[in-house]
Amino acid sequence: MALSIRQQIFDAIKARFETILRSNGYDSDLGSHIFPWKLTSISSEDELPALRFRDNTAERTAHVGKSTIHRVQYEIEVLERSDVTADEIRSLLRDVVKAIGTDVTFGGLAADAEFSEDNFIIDIANRIIASGQMTMTVIYRAGEYDE
């Protein structure tokens, strides 16, 4: 069974995030711990820094002719120990943006990817993990009644 475009893009995003390694010119090794759709907490500090992402919402617009424009929104969360500085969280967020920016079409699967807002939390009492969240929208075109 052929995978939907949405599934192929999801898989491509995961593969892209896995390239975030110092050996590839990034500022972190975030790519070592990628967790698609992991909603539970990180179990150990050994799994940090980590990245969780999920395709929460999607919007479809019928286009002229026989195509549909899809806008799938991804929530991306980078996680680090709570004693890190804001600079380090910013650096992780930058690595995420840089990785996506290497090819926003994911090899021709998508038309574009764009980031909107982000926010982060560090150094909160009784929290063992600091985090930064960002929202990315991937836009792609598919056939009528196709994903």
Partner: protein, 146 residues
């Protein structure tokens, strides 16, 4: 040839011109370059028709109004501009009286004029769109009104 058949033949010839020019007709589905990274999709919308009054022995004429809607990936601003120019002038140069009087219209040559009313380009990231309104004048069936 009935006027409906004339109009259908004109549309067939417009489709042939666009397909030969390398455009992905939306009628045929989404095409291989789904994200329109290098290809351009085109939809043909039938906007309407208008008719001229005929006087005495003069033939009567109708004008078919079509919107040709081109869609392509326009994220890069410089290629967006050049692509817009290419698509607009492809229509202006390619959809002519001579090019339309072929196929079922080759003998009767019912198309007598092609004119452009409006051409508009727009961009909502990531897709750029050009809407080219073309008006194609054709000679109506002589038996009309008899």
């Amino acid at each position: 040839m009935s006027d409906a058949d004339t109009v259908k033949s004109i549309i067939t010839n417009v489709k042939t011109i666009l397909t030969t020019g390398g455009y992905q007709l939306e009628d045929n589905g989404i095409g291989s370059d789904k994200q329109l990274l290098t290809a351009c999709a085109v939809a043909i919308e039938y906007v309407g028709e208008s008719y001229e009054d005929s006087y005495g022995q003069n033939a009567s004429f109708g004008e078919l109004i079509l919107n040709l809607i081109f869609t392509f990936n326009g994220v890069d601003p410089s290629t967006r501009r050049t692509n817009i120019a290419d698509h607009i002038h492809f229509v202006r140069d390619g959809i002519t009286v001579e090019a339309l009087n072929v196929g079922d219209l080759a003998l009767t040559k019912l198309v007598s004029a092609v004119r452009t009313d409006t051409v508009e380009a727009s961009y909502e990231r990531p897709f750029a769109e050009v809407t080219y309104q073309i008006k194609i004048r054709y000679r109506e069936d002589d038996t009309y009104g008899d």
